[in-house]
Amino acid sequence: MNLLTKKLSKTDLIGVVVLSAIILVLFPTVFSIFRLNLIGKYLTYAFVGVSLVLLWGNGGILSLGQGVFFGLGGYCMAMFLKLEASDPIATKIQTTPGIPDFMDWNQITKLPLFWLPFKSLTFTILAILLVPAFFAFIIGVAMFKRRVGGVYFAIITQAVALILSVLIVGQQGLTGGINGITDLKTMHGWDIRSDSAKYILYYANGVLLIGCVVFTRWVLSTKFGMLLLALREKEDRVRFSGYDVANFKTLAFCMSAVMCAIGGAMFTLQVGFMSPSFVGITPSIEMVIYTAVGGRMSVVGAVFGTLLVNFAKTFFSEQYPDLWLFLMGGTFIGVVMLFPDGLAGLFERFGKPFLARMTSGKASPKKNDEPTVAVAAALESGGKHG
């Protein structure tokens, strides 16, 4: 029984192994720490890409507000780091020492109540996981129980993204405003700006990402995953088979939110700041594009898609500063028109038959060589000019 499922998980396993090898072995050996840190940043977006494979690719629920959860995770982490960076000695020139600098500039003299628990790392880690899950739960229940779906859900998530980013910008004294929370230095005394810390954070990020990839694959292999596919296709049939569809959608939405938040927290750690420009509409839509380019049904594809888009972005902006936005737009249009199933679809169509021919001679499974080659090319030229 279920030969198909078994076969799928075998190719998946190969995909995950190849992905792990590229992230954990190939990239660190080939690239300098500067470039590696940049890749680490891109890989934090891949968490969102993977979350959208679960939610959108398989569940058919298009969220244009994943930046909200990425931002919530990122801000939770940033608040903890900012408090540690704002000890009374380091901030003694302020009117009120011991509070974050932007609060001091905004004439705030006391740490706001909701900042207080972020002095604890345990609380912060819990908040990174639970705050986005809670938000997703509220939005999910409110929308899905009322059977709001499709385009309407997408528009509402987009509105939420806009609301949150406007709120963050507006409440400058509490959130750091448009600049975000910057100047983050240490985590429990450990300097996150040093090269060794960057290496460790890169690896931690890679392992967490692979964890999310494996988790998502597992979820999709369960009955829950099968039902997600089923309700993407025939929601009524699922409902009239005795399932409360809204609960399934809400749980998928919560899972995707937590993954985005982990990505956001790792972003803050690796890049050293968090700002509303990662919360609003533009980043949220861009993150959907990563998944579309990678192939919205493929978890591993989403990671490669994210990398490819970001490398292309770096490459175009360094090579053609005047034209790069047009070139990016053109690339997206081209991908969607020519390869509606993204890189993963491309691999299914050309890569697999090619591999099958090759493996009849020597077995050397190398999945998705196109993105890797493109990645290497983009980095090389980026390196020359950057």
Partner: protein, 234 residues
């Protein structure tokens, strides 16, 4: 075919912009028989009346709760998951792991596999278990959906035009299938094809514009002058 007192419908009404589709009793021919099934399974909410299934009032229950109470419904056009295989279609319909977390930790145990195998045999799809459902013929898709309902072992099974678009041969097989599965449960079938109805029905109700115009055995119903008028008159 329905056993007595399993399903009682009283004063049921639903209005669409002032137009009463179902009046007093059950759905009319052509413009509302599907509405009747929609009302029973909760897809459409009635504006008045009650539908008693055993001791439960279905008009007050959510769709998934109605299904769990033992009412299964097949849609008019085959409603299956085309991107899953036949066995996956059946497995997904197995009535365990119905909560979101339950589905996450659902184990494909031997009894599930056994049930999938038995039901597939029942609906003549044993050979097709690993085939993608999209590749089935129209008739096989209809059977698969009936199979998905059988997985849930409902006490009341409602079928909306199960043989529409089937070949003569497939109709024969479906009639046999329905006679087999109706041994253990009540089945309500909506159908136009009189030959097919004759083969399967124990009791026939003829509806016209929201009213029951005849009820009884097939011979009695077909002899009723009003039925003849409704079917041939207009």
């Amino acid at each position: 075919m329905a056993s007595h007192e399993m399903l009682t419908i009283q004063g049921l009404g639903v209005s669409f912009d002032g137009f009463k589709a179902v009046d007093d009793l059950i759905g009319p021919n052509g413009a509302g028989k599907t509405t009747l099934l929609d009302l029973i399974c909760g897809k459409t909410k009635s504006t008045s009346g009650t539908i008693m299934f055993k001791t439960m009032d279905l008009t007050q229950m959510k769709e998934h709760a109605i299904v769990r109470a033992g009412v299964g419904r097949k849609f008019q056009t085959p409603s299956i998951y085309e991107n899953l295989t036949v066995s996956e279609n059946l497995e997904v319909s197995f009535p365990r792991g119905r909560s979101a977390f339950g589905a996450l930790f659902f184990k494909r145990t031997a009894d599930v596999a056994e049930r999938v195998k038995n039901v597939a045999e029942e609906v003549l799809l044993s050979e097709k278990l690993d085939q993608q459902a999209a590749l089935l013929s129209h008739g096989q898709k209809q059977w698969l959906e009936i199979g998905m309902l059988l997985m849930q072992d409902p006490e009341l099974l409602m079928l909306d035009e199960p043989v529409a678009g089937m070949t003569v041969n497939e109709r024969e097989q479906t009639a046999e299938l329905l006679n087999r599965i109706s041994k253990n449960r009540s089945v309500i079938v909506i159908e136009h094809d009189m030959e097919f109805v004759r083969k399967i029905a124990h009791k026939v109700t003829v509806l016209h514009q929201g009213k029951v115009i005849a009820e009884g055995s097939m011979d009695k119903v077909t002899a009723d002058p009003r039925v003849i008028e409704v079917y041939l008159g207009h």
